[in-house]
Every structure is written in structure tokens, then in C-alpha cells.
């Protein structure tokens, strides 16, 4: 279509977005084209419907309607032009289009950002070579394993050779005294072969386990370099699957596949030499199926790659569902949704079965046919060889040795064919590991980032942010928190309160504007330095499956026992912990499941307090405790928060009414700032929220009274 659009000589297309609604409002096609000069909308035939110079555009927006949305341009002369409609299915794509349009100068940055966290498809190194890189620290063991395997192959060539001597030169020649010598040689050869086999297995198993360990550690470390937003791209189940399942498949390749591959190739070459030495004519017959086999295997490999990728993805769908549902077990039970969840699992398991059958059918299309070709060749050799023996052209010993070598010849071929499938699986697993390892986090330390000893001065300057491009959760947010100040952030659900803390911790970067700490843009502060000095207690804190003391020490691994207990005391956790049989050594259970919500929250407060943060964020930190306990925690926290910059986010306004200043957010914008009293007098949103909560309490009191 774009070939029909006439562009000026210095104009080039930057991006093209296809809509699924035609210009006439019916399902169809229309296009939004962004060039370096203009924004153009075309119909399906390439006819230009709208065209606006980028320099004339003041702002761009998307207006959502039922079932469809529309991009609107606001021009600098004030005109608003609706340019293109699309169904909600394309919301994400057109969000990106709007982001591109919105600021011509940010085009490059946006493109980079989009590309950065995508997996790279092409790699300089093949996936299996990539995995082999991990064997370098264990190269001696690997060489030992492979060398003993290869030595075993050569030893394996001896018995048929002695078999020929045994038949022709000993048994048929009636040389009784040679019998014991030949038999002894055969037995010793077999014994040596067994010893080498054991050595090979141990050495390769050692290497593969060590490599699997190192791949898992590296993958884990790599994932930890990302920010929590990686979970926007990958479900946690999929990440877990890469660390566990994929690493196991790579383990198979190293402990078994690689050795089998080398063994088969070497034994094929050496046996081929032997059979050609014994009888060239029969050797040619034996080699005849090889081109067919090579062709078959290459056809299979080509098809198998996507089939196995597809099968793997279906398996990870199951892992992802289980990782989601099992921790949410109480919710499933509470809503009696066992049947629903079972159905969801069944659907995914059915997909696994279907994908498995698909790969089985693919295997069946190739492997039985290849085996039949091999068997046919062996039968032909028996036939031709038999005639040769009967005709007296070769001896029975030569034929026996030849047949024995031919079985050794086809053995590796069959092994090579049979390992194609698991090899492809290992290769696709390695590819997935490689792709994840090659990803680069979008949020990372800038080369010139600094360590900063934070005093606690925070500025949000014209901050715009959205989790998806252009859908802003925070809109032009401006505020300042002075060192040691205690502020409260309040507002209705979805107003962007928690997002502010995520930006401060740099889990995400702002779309526009800056966040400054002590006057330094946080993108110029080392992430670790920043986060070590900011403590956060969230509404639903995650505890780890460890003891209480270790969970508290998560905030300060070298904390003394007194510091642990002091932190717990501040969080009003000390007393309930001492009532548990194992006190601070009591287990918390998975995610803190062995503790109540209030207990979990208080331990999370202790974990934050112990880290002595310069900036303390309490994000609905006391929402799970009763008001009496909350009051106790507030009093205890007063000791620790005095002189420390503290941001308290709360729905329950009584929690924050005593702070130095309150910031009221609504739909991502700051609508009011002031003390509790000032805001009540202003009679705005805060006063409304306060009166509603106060009224609710009054009603509750009247009902209970």
C-alpha cells in the first residue's frame, strides 16, 4: 500500500500501523503512516485521507469508545482532527503509534526501548555452542569423558577382528592351543571397555551437572538484573521453566547427547574403514542407504524445530497456570472455583497432549521409515554375502566379521537418528536459555551513575508515566518532599499512589519529566545505592519460606540479635513472636502462609525498619492490622521516623492525618496539597473522602452500639 503514497524526496517512512476498521467505519483496512515529516492516514487503496505535518501537531490522544477507539490530533491552531479508528484489539499498537507521534524527537528512544527487551532471534553462536561455552571450566573432565568414550570405540572394533581369527584361523584350522589366547584377549578387551565406559559416564555426568548448576545460577543472576517489570513480559512460571526444564534438557545434551554424537560419528568413520578393508563391494551396498538417511534427518530437523518449540510453550503454559493458581489456593477455595480451575488446567493439558501427539506423528513420519531402510540394507548384505561364501569368493569368517561390523556401522547411524529428536529438544531449550541470557534490562545503571549518600530530599518534576505507552497513570505530577519531612499520599483507588513509590524505587522509568533525589536525577544514581537507602513496606508484603529472624534480617543481613528484636519491637511484632514455640526461629511458610495477615505485615515492617532507610515508604503498611495495633505501630514508628523522610500511602485517612503534609491524587493528577486541617477547610476531595470515612465509622459505631 505504501508504494502508492507519494512521499517527498527527503521523506521516509518511520512506522506504519494497520487498522482493522476501514475509513467508511466497516471492518476493513486503513493505515496510519508516520514519516519523518508527516502523519498520514490512507484507505486500503493507498488514497490519502488525512495528512498533517508533524510540526503542526500540538498533541495526540486516543479516545476510547465501546468496541473501538480513535486517534485524534490536536493541531497548534487548536483544531482537533479525528484521524483513524481501530478496534480495541489494536489498542496496544496504536498506543505505540501515539507515543511515536507525540514527540517527534523521542522516536528513536521509543524504538530502542521497544527493541531492547525483546529476545534476539539471531545469534552469533549456535545454541549448543553457546551451552558448550559453559563447559570451559570443566574442560579436563570433559576431555577425559570424551577420550574414554572414543578409546572405548576403538576397543569395540577388536572383538569382530578376533572373531574372524577365531573362526578362520583357530576353529576351522583346528588350532586348539590358540583358542584360550584369543578368548582371553576378547575378555580383557571387554573388561577394559567396561572400565572406560564407567569412567566416561562419571566424567560426563560430572561435567553436565556442573554445567547445569552454572547455567541455572547464571540464568537466575541474569533474571535478577531485571526490574519487576520483566513479569510484564514473562509470566513467572515461564521464567521458572527456563531455569528448571530447559537446564535439564541441556544437561541431557552434555551427559549423553554430545558423547553419543561424537561416539557415533567416530565409530561410523572407523567401522566404515574396516568394512571397506574387508570387502569393498559389500561395503558399497552397506553404504547405499546413507544419502537417504541424511536427507530424511535433515527434513526432520527442519520441521521438528517449531514443533518442539510449540510443545515446550504448551508445557510452560501449564507451569504458568500452576504457579498462578497454587499460591492462590485459598482464593480458589473461597470462591468454590475448583471446577473452573480444573477446566482451565484441562484445556492447557489437552494442548500439551495435542502438541505431544503432533511431535509424535512427526517422529513416526520419519523414524520407522529410516529403520526399515537400514533393515533392508542388512538383508541385502546377507543375501549377496551368502552367495559370495557359497561361491567360495570370501570365507565364512570374513562374512561373519563383516556382518558384525555392519551391525556396528548401522548402530551409530541408528543412534544418530534416534538422538536427533532429543537433540532438537536440547537445542531448542538451549536456544531459549540463550535468548533470555541475551536480553538486556531496559532499566540499568548508566555508565556515569553515582553512589549517593541520600539525605532524603525528593522532587517529582513534571512526571508523566504509564505502564503501557501513552495510557498515563501519572499526569504531570509535581511535588517536593524535604529531608526529614513526613508526607501522606491519599486518593481514590487507581489514582496512582503506589505508582509514585515504584518510580521512586526505579522499578520503572518515567515517560516524561524527572524524579530527583537530593537534587540528582535517579537515573544517574546507582540502582543498588538508591534502593538500599529506600525502605518500603507494601500492602501485601511477601515473606520468604524461611524463619522469622531470617526474614527480618533480609533488610540487614548482618543485623545483631538486638537489632532484630528492636526492629520487631518497633513493628509491634516482638511480643507475638515470643509467644511462638520457636520464637524468632519459627518458620514463616511459603509466602508467609504460616502467619496471619497482620503478623506478616508487622514482620515486613520490621524487615524495612532494620535496614535503616533514609527514605521510608509505608504503602498501606498497616492496612491488615486493627486500629489499636496500628496506633501502637505509629507510636513506635515515631521514634524511628523522626527526622527521616517518610512517605505514607493510606486509604484509611486516620493513618495519615498527623503527617506534615498531605498530597491528594485523583486520576493520576495532584488535586490538593496541605495539612489535614487545611484540606478539611478547603472542602475538596480530601474533605469528601474524610467525611465519607468518618460517616462510615459513625454508622458502624451506631450499629455495633
Amino acid at each position: 500500500m505504501d508504494t502508492d503514497v507519494k512521499l517527498s524526496s527527503d521523506e521516509s517512512i518511520i512506522a506504519k500501523f494497520e487498522s482493522d476498521i476501514a475509513v467508511d467505519g466497516r471492518y476493513g483496512v486503513s493505515y496510519l503512516i508516520i514519516t519523518n515529516k508527516r502523519c498520514i492516514v490512507c484507505d486500503d487503496k493507498g488514497g490519502i485521507v488525512h495528512s498533517a505535518d508533524l510540526s503542526d501537531i500540538s498533541s495526540v490522544s486516543i479516545v476510547d469508545y465501546v468496541g473501538n477507539s480513535e486517534v485524534k490530533l490536536t493541531l497548534k491552531d487548536g483544531r482537533v482532527i479525528p484521524i483513524i479508528r481501530f478496534t480495541r484489539s489494536l489498542r496496544k499498537e496504536f498506543n505505540e503509534a501515539v507515543s511515536l507521534l507525540e514527540n517527534a524527537s523521542s522516536i528513536k528512544a521509543v524504538i530502542n526501548e521497544r527493541g531492547e527487551e525483546r529476545e534476539r532471534v539471531k545469534f552469533k553462536m549456535g545454541p549448543l555452542l553457546f551451552v558448550l561455552r559453559f563447559t570451559l571450566p570443566y574442560k579436563l573432565a570433559l576431555i577425559l569423558g570424551l577420550a574414554s568414550g572414543i578409546a572405548g570405540i576403538f576397543l569395540g572394533l577388536l572383538p569382530p577382528y578376533y572373531l574372524r581369527i577365531l573362526i578362520d584361523d583357530v576353529i576351522l584350522a583346528q588350532r586348539r592351543e590358540q583358542l584360550i589366547v584369543i578368548i582371553t584377549i576378547i575378555v580383557v578387551t571387554q573388561a577394559l571397555s567396561s572400565i572406560l565406559g564407567a569412567l566416561r559416564s562419571y566424567a560426563l555426568s560430572y561435567v553436565s551437572l556442573k554445567v547445569m548448576h552454572s547455567i541455572r545460577v547464571n540464568l537466575f543472576r541474569h533474571i535478577m538484573r531485571f526490574q519487576p517489570n520483566i513479569l510484564d513480559t514473562y509470566e513467572s512460571g515461564r521464567l521458572i521453566s527456563r531455569i528448571t526444564d530447559d537446564a535439564s534438557r541441556v544437561n541431557w545434551f552434555l551427559s549423553w547427547g554430545l558423547e553419543q554424537l561424537l561416539r557415533s560419528v567416530i565409530s561410523l568413520a572407523s567401522v566404515a574403514t574396516m568394512i571397506f578393508t574387508l570387502d569393498t563391494r559389500l561395503a558399497i551396498i552397506a553404504s547405499a542407504p546413507l544419502p537417504l538417511l541424511i536427507f530424511g534427518v535433515s527434513m526432520f530437523s527442519r520441521k521438528a524445530r517449531w514443533v518442539y518449540h510449540y510443545e515446550w510453550r504448551r508445557s510452560t503454559d501449564v507451569s504458568a497456570l500452576l504457579v498462578d493458581v497454587i499460591p492462590g489456593f485459598p482464593v480458589v477455595k473461597a470462591y468454590c472455583m475448583e471446577g473452573y480451575e480444573e477446566d482451565r488446567l484441562k484445556i492447557r493439558l489437552n494442548e500439551v497432549v495435542k502438541a505431544g501427539l503432533r511431535s509424535t506423528i512427526l517422529n513416526l513420519k520419519f523414524f520407522p521409515m529410516l529403520s526399515f531402510i537400514i533393515s533392508s540394507a542388512t538383508a541385502i548384505i546377507w543375501w549377496v554375502g551368502g552367495l559370495e561364501v557359497l561361491g567360495g569368493r570370501i570365507t565364512l569368517g570374513v562374512l561373519s566379521a563383516f556382518i558384525s561390523y555392519v551391525s556396528q556401522f548401522y548402530g551409530p547411524i541408528q543412534t544418530l537418528i534416534s538422538i536427533v529428536e532429543p537433540m532438537k529438544r536440547a537445542s531448542t531449550a538451549a536456544e531459549r536459555i540463550q535468548s533470555l541470557m541475551s536480553m538486556d534490562p531496559s532499566i540499568k545503571d548508566a555508565p556515569d551513575s553515582i553512589d549517593l549518600d541520600i539525605k532524603g530530599w525528593i522532587i517529582f518534576e513534571n512526571v508523566w508515566f504509564g505502564y503501557t505507552p501513552y495510557t498515563y497513570v501519572l499526569k504531570n505530577v509535581n511535588f517536593e518532599v524535604k529531608p526529614g519531612e513526613k508526607i501522606g499520599i491519599v486518593g481514590p483507588t487507581g489514582s496512582g499512589k503506589t505508582t509514585i513509590t515504584k518510580l521512586l524505587l526505579r522499578f520503572y522509568d518515567v515517560n516524561k519529566g524527572r524524579v530527583l533525589v537530593d537534587g540528582v536525577d535517579i537515573r544517574k544514581i546507582k540502582i543498588e545505592s538508591l534502593r538500599r537507602q529506600i525502605g518500603i513496606v507494601s500492602q501485601d508484603p511477601r515473606l520468604f519460606n524461611d524463619s522469622i529472624v531470617n526474614n527480618i534480617r533480609y533488610g540487614k543481613p548482618d543485623a545483631t540479635p538486638e537489632e532484630v528484636m528492636a526492629a520487631a519491637k518497633i513493628a509491634l511484632a516482638h511480643d507475638f513472636i515470643l509467644e511462638k514455640p520457636l520464637r524468632y526461629d519459627s518458620p514463616c511458610g511459603e509466602g508467609g502462609s504460616m502467619l496471619s495477615g497482620g503478623e506478616r505485615q508487622r514482620i515486613a515492617i520490621a524487615r524495612t525498619v532494620i535496614s535503616d532507610p533514609k527514605i521510608l515508604i509505608l504503602d498501606e503498611a498497616t492496612s491488615s492490622v486493627d486500629t489499636i495495633t496500628e496506633d501502637g505501630i505509629k507510636k513506635a514508628l515515631d521514634n524511628i521516623t523522626r527526622g527521616r523522610t517518610t512517605i505514607i500511602i493510606a486509604h484509611r485517612l486516620s493513618t495519615v492525618k498527623d503527617v506534615d503534609r498531605l498530597i491528594v491524587l485523583d486520576k493520576g493528577e495532584i488535586v490538593e496539597v496541605g495539612t489535614h486541617q487545611e484540606l478539611l477547610e478547603r472542602n475538596g476531595l480530601y474533605a469528601k473522602l474524610w467525611n465519607t470515612q468518618f460517616q462510615e465509622k459513625l454508622t458502624e459505631a451506631q450499629v455495633s452500639g
Binding site: V549, E563, M565, I570, L582, P587
Partner: protein, 169 residues
């Protein structure tokens, strides 16, 4: 700004072994302690970290729930004070150490463990791995009746015991 270190210092007084005197508080399981000559009655000795730091003891008033002081390592106390304290702690923290494992059998519902402990032979039931958790090299087992057993070091257990323990660890 009060740091956690300062708060800990003011909240928990660490006393040296010679700064504290200990005696029974009547016939009960409580103590009277003297610090700098000042008596504190009705004091309960608590091991806040009974597994990870078993010689660390907190002395707490049973009436006011005030944390009076801590002793970092009760093994440094003089013999008579230590014996007196250990007698009470021994009863309060009955955590036998498993020194050998005879047999672990799965019945379909429970794992039945027959073990030798430093307090004698014992048979107990656990539900599964949920009842077993590790603290460093130590393994803690809590049976279905909430009795607690400790394996000081899995690595130091005998070969047979390790094989049996593999069923539950």
C-alpha cells in the same frame, strides 16, 4: 533521626556474665535476677533464637513484659549460675537432638520416624516435608503433635541415617 542501632541499644541492655546474679524466684519456674544490685522478680528466661543462636537468652518480666536484659552467651556464665539457668531452660526448650535414624516408613498418611535422640529413643509422625525445615546446616523437625526435634548437622549423620532421612528431607 534514631538509627536502629541506637534503638536496639536503648531497648535491649546487654549484660556481661559478671554483671548479673541469678536465683530461683520461690518454687516457680521463674527467676529473680540482680543487675548492678537491683533486683528484678518474676523474670522469665527466653531463648529468642532457640535453634539458630541457642545460647542467647533474653530476660523478661512476666508481669510488665519488660525486656530487662540479654546475655549473649550463657556458656560464659559462672558454673552455678549457668546450671541454675540451664535447668529452667532445659524444661522450657525440650528440643531433643536426633543422633541416629533407625527407620522412616511412609504409611500413606504419615511418615513414621524411629530415631535415637540425646534424650533416648523415640517414634514420631510427620506429615511430610512441610514439617521439616532447615536452618543453615541444622534440620528442624516438628511432628504432628508439635514436638520439636533437631538434627545438628545432616552431613555428620551416619550413612544409614542419611539414607533414611533422604525420604523426608
Amino acid at each position: 533521626m534514631t538509627s536502629i542501632k541506637d534503638y536496639a541499644r536503648t531497648s535491649f541492655r546487654i549484660v556481661e556474665p559478671d554483671e548479673i546474679e541469678i536465683e530461683y524466684d520461690g518454687d516457680s519456674d521463674l527467676l529473680t535476677i540482680y543487675i548492678d544490685g537491683k533486683p528484678y522478680r518474676g523474670v522469665e528466661p527466653i531463648k529468642p533464637f532457640p535453634l539458630s543462636n541457642p545460647y542467647y537468652v533474653l530476660f523478661r518480666s512476666t508481669s510488665t513484659h519488660e525486656d530487662i536484659c540479654v546475655v549473649n552467651d550463657i556458656r560464659r556464665l559462672k558454673r552455678e549460675k549457668r546450671i541454675l539457668l540451664e535447668r529452667i531452660l532445659d524444661k522450657r526448650y525440650f528440643i531433643p537432638s536426633i543422633i541416629d535414624v533407625y527407620d522412616i516408613t511412609y504409611t500413606g498418611e504419615y511418615y513414621v520416624c524411629k530415631v535415637k535422640t540425646d534424650r533416648g529413643d523415640r517414634t514420631f509422625k510427620i506429615m511430610g516435608r512441610r514439617n521439616v525445615y532447615r536452618i543453615d546446616d541444622k534440620i528442624v523437625i516438628i511432628d504432628v503433635d508439635e514436638n520439636i526435634y533437631l538434627i545438628e548437622s545432616y552431613e555428620k549423620m551416619g550413612r544409614k541415617a542419611k539414607e533414611e532421612l533422604m525420604k523426608i528431607v
